[in-house]
Symmetry: C2
C-alpha cells in the first residue's frame, strides 16, 4: 500500500489531472471535485430548505455550512498541506517575510478599490462602533498595512482566506470563502527587476507542482491605455473597457464587442479598432517590436513606456531561462481597478494526466501585476510605494490535486503516528499508559486505543486503516523479559527489542533523527 | 550576533518572562506587549477620531485596523511561528488529524451554546440569504462538523482565529480577533483515558515552552452540580452560579458571595454553604477521599460519579508521571455552558525570568474539559458523541514570548535567505540574474538587491541587517576565472569557489541536505 506523508517537505510528486473546470481568474476560488457537491446536495435533501429558524437548544434546524463555504476533512487538509508546502518553500526561497492582517477591515478601507466587484463585499452587521467588512483580497490590506506603518520597502508573502459574495448561480463551483497565496514586492527599485522575479516564482511553482505544460500571459495596463486612447476611448471608460476585454478568454470577440457597444456605450468603429489590437497575442519580442513601429501607438507616451518596459522584462525573463513559457498578449486585461503597469495570468495548457485521455480545460491558476498607486490611496500625504505581486490560485490547484488523488486511489495518511502501543493482555492499561508516555516524552509520535481491553486484532486493524507503520506490543511475557515486541505492520515481521533500546529502534526504523 | 531561525523545529530554547498580565480565561486572547498599545495610540493620535467617513478614492480617512484587532509584523510572525511549531508538534505526536471550518457559521448554529457570552458574537449584515455569525470558538463548529458528517470517532486539532465583541473598556488588553489552538478527542471510550491525555498534552506543551513552573487545576461539573444541589441551589441557577464561582481566581470570596446573593438571587446561607466547599482546593487524592466521605455530598449521585472519575483520572495522571502538577480544585468552574464533566485550566505560577526580579502574575494559559451533549444538540436524532478537549491560550503565550525577546534584545531572523548574490561591478545585472536563477533552481534560498548598480557596501550591509550568512560575489575577475567569491558575513572571510561547486559549497556551509 503506497502511503504518502501529508507534510512531506518540498514539491509533491504525484501526477495531476483536472476535469471540467470552468475558466476563471486566478484570484478566484474553484470548482470542488464532484464528491463535495454531492455531499452538499445530500445535506440539503436531509434538511427541508423552508424550515423556520429555531430557538436556542432546539434540534431541528438546517445542519450545513453557510452557502458557498465548506469544511476541510483531514484528508483534504493533508492534500492542501502539500500544495501549501510547495508554494511556501518557493516564497521562502525568494527571501520573503510573512505578515498577517485581520480578517475584517474598516469598510472604508475597502471602498473604491475593486470597481464593479465591490458589490461582492461581505459587510458585518452594525452592532455599534465601526462599520466593518470582510477582506476581499490580500492586496488592499497589504497596501493599508504599508501606509499605516510607513513601510516603503518589503518583500512579503501572505496566505489567508478572503471573502466574496459571488452568486453561485452565476459562477458555478466558486466558493465564497477561499484561500489566496500572495507574494508581493514593495519599494522604489529599477524597472522590471521585481516584476521579473514574480514571473519566475509563478514558473517555479507551476513546474514544482507538475501540472503539465503551462503558459504565462503578460500585458501592461499602460499599453492597453495607449491602445484604448488611439482607438478613441475616453479615459472615463478605461476600467470598464478593461473588464470587458478581460472576458476575451471566455467569450468570443463578437460577444465582447456587443458588450462594448451595447452596455459600455462604445462606438462600433472604436470597438473594431480595439479588436484589431487585442486579438494580437501569443507574441514575444517580435510583437513588441511590431507595436513599437505601430504609427498610431508609437505616438502615445504611456504605450511607449509600457512597450519599453515589456522589452526589458523579456530580457530579464530570458536571463532567468523562462521566456519560452511567457507570452505577450494584448487581450489580457485583468479585472481589478488597481493595476497600473505589467499584468500577468498563468494558464495550464494541458494537465499531465495518468488517468484520463481527453485534455482538461484548466483556465487560470495564477495572476497578478503592478499596482503603484494603491498605497498612496491610504497614505495621509498620498506618498506612493510602488508594488508588484502575484497570487496563486490555490483552490484550483487544490481541487485538481484532489481529483487526481481520487482517480489514482492513492491512499493518504492524515496523521504522522509512528507506532501504536498495543497489548494482547487484559487489564494491561497501566502498562500501556506508562510505555506510551515514555515514547511521547522522547518525541515519538505514538497512539493507543482508548479502550481498557481492546482486542489485539482491532489494534492491528487500526494500524492498517491509518497507515501506522509499527506496533509496540507488551504482554505478560514481554514484561517479564524486559522487552517490547516491535511489529512491522507492512511485513508482519516481529522482533523483540529490549525496553531500553526501544526508542532508538523506533527512530531508526522510521528514519527520525 | 545571536541569530535565531524563525521556523526552527521543536520546542523553543529562549527563556520566558511575563509582566503585568491581567489574569483571564485560557480561551481568551491577551494583552499585547506595551509597544503594540503605544503603536495603536500613535495611530489614533495621527487620526482625528471624529473624522467623517469618506467617499471612494479620498485619502483622508482613519488609517487603522478595526478596534480590538492588530496586524502581525514579520518579526511578530517569526515569534508566533515558534509557539505554533511547539504546539503543532505536540498535537501530531499524539496522532491528531487536522480539519478546517469556515470563519462564519449559520447564526442558529451558534445560538444557545455560550450562555451569557452570546452577546459577544459578531453577526454579518443581512445582505440577502442566510443569517451568518463569525465563529466564537472552535468547539461549536467542531461539534457541528461531527454531527453534519456523522463522525462518531476522531482525534483532531484545529488552529484558527475566533471572534468576540468584547468591550475593551471592561476587559483591557484583550483582542476581538485571536487564535485558538484546540485539540479534541471525540468518541465512546472507557472513562478518563482521553481526558488524561488532554492533560498530558497541556503538561508537554507548557514544559516545552519553558514558561517556568505551572499548575493545572482540575474539577468536574458533576461534582459542582452535586455541591450546588446539597447547598440547595436549584438546577435553573446552575450555569449562572458556575460563572460566578469561576470568578474566584480573580475576586475575593466576599465579592463572589455578594454577586451570588445580590445578582443571582441565592440566599446568604446557600452562598455560605457553597463557600465552604469551593474554598477547598490545592488537593489531590486526599481531597477526593475527604469529599467521598462527606455525609451530604456522598448522597448525591452526580457528585459520586464525578468523584469516582476524578480518582481514576489521578491514577492515570500518576502513570503519566504528571500528577504532581495537577491540583483538584473545587473553585474551578469554567465559564462556558457546554461542559458536562471534567474541566481544567492551566496557570503559570512564576515564569522563568532572566530579566526581572519580581514574579509576574500570569493567569491562565490553557483550558478545556468534557462536553458530551454538544454534538447531540446538532444531530437531527439527538445522537450524542462524547467529546473532551483542550484549548491552548496561544495569544498569551505569544505575548509573553514577545516581551521576553524584547527584553533579551535577541535578534530574530524574519527570512531564511542563505546567500545574497552581489557584485562590486557596474552593469553586472545580467550576470547576477543568471547566477541567482541557477541558485533558486537548485533549491538555494537566495536574494539580490533590486537595483541595477547597487554599491557593494550596501549589499554587505543588507546581509548584516537581515542576517543572511553568505554573500556570493561576482565581478570581472571572478567571471574571467570561472569562480564566485563566497564571503562569510560573520567572519568576513572570503574564498573563491569554482562556479560548478558553488551550490554544493553553499549547502555545505548552511547545513542544508
Amino acid at each position: 500500500m503506497n502511503w504518502l506523508r501529508p507534510l512531506a517537505a518540498g514539491g509533491c510528486r504525484v501526477p495531476f489531472g483536472g476535469q471540467h473546470l470552468a475558466p476563471s481568474c486566478a484570484r478566484r476560488a474553484f470548482a470542488a471535485h464532484p464528491q463535495n457537491q454531492v455531499a452538499e446536495g445530500v445535506v440539503k435533501l436531509q434538511q427541508p430548505k423552508a424550515q423556520p429558524r429555531t430557538d436556542e437548544g432546539k434540534k431541528n434546524f438546517i445542519l450545513k455550512t453557510p452557502k458557498g463555504t465548506r469544511d476541510y476533512s483531514p484528508k483534504q487538509m493533508a492534500i492542501r498541506e502539500r500544495v501549501f508546502n510547495t508554494i511556501i518553500s518557493c516564497f521562502k526561497r525568494h527571501g520573503a517575510e510573512v505578515i498577517d492582517t485581520p480578517v475584517f477591515e474598516l469598510k472604508e478601507t475597502l471602498m473604491g478599490k475593486y470597481g464593479e466587484d465591490s458589490k461582492l463585499i461581505y459587510d458585518l452587521k452594525d452592532q455599534g462602533g465601526e462599520l466593518l467588512s470582510l477582506r476581499y483580497d490580500l492586496t488592499v490590506p497589504f497596501a493599508r498595512y504599508l501606509a499605516m506603518n510607513k513601510i516603503t520597502n518589503i518583500k512579503r508573502y501572505h496566505i489567508a482566506k478572503v471573502y466574496r459574495r459571488d452568486n453561485p448561480a452565476m459562477t458555478r463551483g466558486r466558493y465564497r470563502e477561499f484561500y489566496q497565496c500572495d507574494f508581493d514586492i514593495a519599494g522604489h527599485f529599477d524597472p522590471m527587476i521585481p516584476d521579473a522575479e514574480c514571473l519566475k516564482i509563478v514558473h517555479e511553482i507551476l513546474s514544482m507542482l507538475q501540472l503539465g505544460d503551462f503558459l504565462i500571459k503578460v500585458n501592461d495596463r499602460r499599453i492597453l491605455n495607449g491602445v484604448f486612447a488611439v482607438c478613441g476611448i475616453p479615459d472615463s471608460l478605461f476600467h470598464s473597457t478593461c473588464s470587458t476585454v478581460d472576458k476575451l478568454n471566455k467569450a468570443t470577440w463578437e460577444d465582447v464587442k456587443n458588450e462594448m457597444v451595447g452596455e459600455k456605450g462604445l462606438s462600433p468603429e472604436a470597438a473594431d479598432r480595439i479588436g484589431e489590437y487585442v486579438r494580437l497575442h501569443a507574441g514575444g519580442l517580435g510583437l513588441i517590436e511590431q507595436l513599437v513601429q505601430d504609427p498610431k501607438l508609437s505616438q502615445n507616451k504611456l504605450a511607449r513606456e509600457g512597450l519599453g518596459d515589456m522589452k526589458l522584462l523579456f530580457e530579464y525573463l530570458t536571463l532567468f531561462g523562462i521566456a519560452d513559457k511567457i507570452s505577450f498578449d494584448l487581450s489580457l486585461a485583468r479585472g481589478l481597478d488597481y493595476y497600473t503597469g505589467v499584468i500577468y495570468e498563468a494558464v495550464v495548457l494541458q494537465p499531465q494526466n495518468a488517468h484520463r485521455e481527453e485534455p482538461a480545460n484548466m483556465g487560470s491558476v495564477a495572476g497578478g501585476g503592478r499596482y503603484d498607486e494603491l498605497v498612496g490611496m491610504f497614505d495621509p500625504k498620498g506618498r506612493k510605494v510602488p508594488c508588484v505581486g502575484v497570487s496563486i490560485g490555490i483552490e484550483r490547484l487544490f481541487s485538481i490535486m484532489e481529483q487526481e488523488v481520487e482517480a489514482s486511489k492513492e491512499k493518504i495518511r492524515t496523521t504522522e503516528t509512528q507506532v501504536l502501543v498495543a497489548t494482547p493482555q487484559k487489564n494491561f492499561l497501566d502498562v500501556k499508559l506508562k510505555l506510551i508516555s515514555e515514547l511521547w516524552d522522547s518525541g515519538i509520535k505514538a497512539e493507543m486505543l482508548y479502550k481498557k481491553n481492546p482486542k489485539l486484532l482491532n489494534q492491528l486493524q487500526y494500524c492498517e486503516d491509518t497507515g501506522i507503520p509499527l506496533v509496540a506490543i507488551v504482554g505478560e511475557q514481554e514484561l517479564k523479559d524486559g522487552v517490547v515486541k516491535l511489529r512491522v505492520v507492512a511485513t508482519r515481521e516481529e522482533v523483540d527489542v529490549r525496553r531500553e533500546n526501544l526508542i532508538e529502534e523506533i527512530k531508526r526504523r522510521t528514519c527520525q533523527p
